[in-house]
Symmetry: C2
């Protein structure tokens, strides 16, 4: 690799790093072309050698965030023995929160569709969905079926067959719906916590999230699977 190519790589890395820094400090609003140039002590125009527009820049960071979140959760999930369904879900839930707290603005970027228009769906976009569907398939194999109401004649999740193909497993629609419901529950709680919505100031945040995770377990595993109170402590 020549000097030129090397230099380009390090500059691209520097752009990504500085972009994440700006994002972490001031949110997506703070991520401006000129601000980034300042951060890198470059002329603003120089950035246009690496990026087509500000939109592009945001999309770049969005992709990075997606991939990082998916990597982190995947790793934590995969570290749990396959038979430990509850443990796998808890790894998902708690890693989701930990990552989000550590990367607030990246999470908000992912969850806010700040980047307008048709999003660039990368292969990362659905990695967590795939993780979820496989977990659901294993749960079904273990005889766990969610008591969420059955769908009508028409499928609710039209794309389910595609996801099943990608995941290499099949699940009932209800199983997938339960998984998504549980995920929504966590996301809703995280929005509230990260945005400081009304009510959050009166919560013990950690314990509150634990309670929310417990609620998702009720959804996914049913009431008989809820542990007795004294052993509720979730992994950090």
């Amino acid at each position: 690799m020549g000097t030129r190519a090397q230099h380009r790589d390090t500059t691209e890395a520097a752009i990504l790093a500085a972009g994440l820094r700006l994002l972490a400090e001031g949110g997506s609003e703070a991520l401006t072309v000129r601000g980034l140039a300042r951060e890198l002590t470059l002329a603003p125009s120089a950035l246009y050698r690496y990026v087509r527009s500000r939109e592009d820049l945001l999309a770049l960071l969005l992709r990075h965030a997606y991939a990082d979140l998916a990597d982190t959760i995947q790793a934590a999930h995969d570290a749990v023995p396959r038979v430990d369904l509850r443990g796998r879900w808890r790894a998902f839930a708690h890693t989701l929160r930990n990552w989000s707290l550590a990367h607030r603005h990246e999470w908000l970027l992912i969850q806010s569709a700040v980047v307008a228009g048709p999003l660039p769906f990368t292969e990362n976009t659905f990695r967590l969905h795939l993780l979820l569907i496989r977990l659901g398939a294993d749960a079904e194999r273990a005889g766990i079926f969610p008591s969420i109401s059955a769908p009508r004649d028409e499928p609710v999740i039209r794309g389910l067959p595609v996801l099943e193909m990608m995941a290499g497993v099949e699940v009932r629609e209800q199983t997938m719906l339960s998984g998504l419901a549980a995920w929504h529950l966590l996301d809703g709680a995280l929005y509230a916590e990260l945005l400081g919505l009304a009510g959050t100031e009166m919560m013990d945040a950690d314990a509150y999230y634990d309670a929310m995770v417990s609620a998702t377990e009720l959804l996914l595993l049913g009431p008989e699977a809820i542990r007795p109170p004294e052993s509720v402590d979730a992994p950090r």
Copy 2:
């Protein structure tokens, strides 16, 4: 009331109306002092007779949105007979979505904490919390207790006693936690739908939300309370 006071009232109303229009069309970014002045064919500076700053303007609309949402849900909820616990919850859940779809950007304003700094907590801020706590109290009276895991020694919701006082009823913490979990679940689903997050394009949105509501019922009422599939159709 003199001509002057009358005029002031109508102008204030016009500002609110035009503000909501701008918000509906372009989101909170579109709500600028100059844009609003244009909308009202006024000089930008004229608005400073009615509003201290742009922040103030956003806070004004935020308060309005809060009140409107709470009013709407409250009314729908109160129209259901008190004994019909499921019906009351469904009224909450479906009115929440209907209002949000009809007022996307107002809902996002409420849910995004766009207005920085310490929010002006009005008496509306917790009206839905109070509705929820009363519903929970009635559920307990009917012998329904959520199977969400019990809290530790320390309370998770430190402000619960205050809410109980405001609501004039008492509930177990678990009951409140279940209610909040259910609410988060709906909010999470709404964020996904309104922001067009990954995955939403493959859903039948109405049926999907119905499934999410069904999941919340599982949380709140337990599995034995889930209706058989054929009568699942939710009220619109």
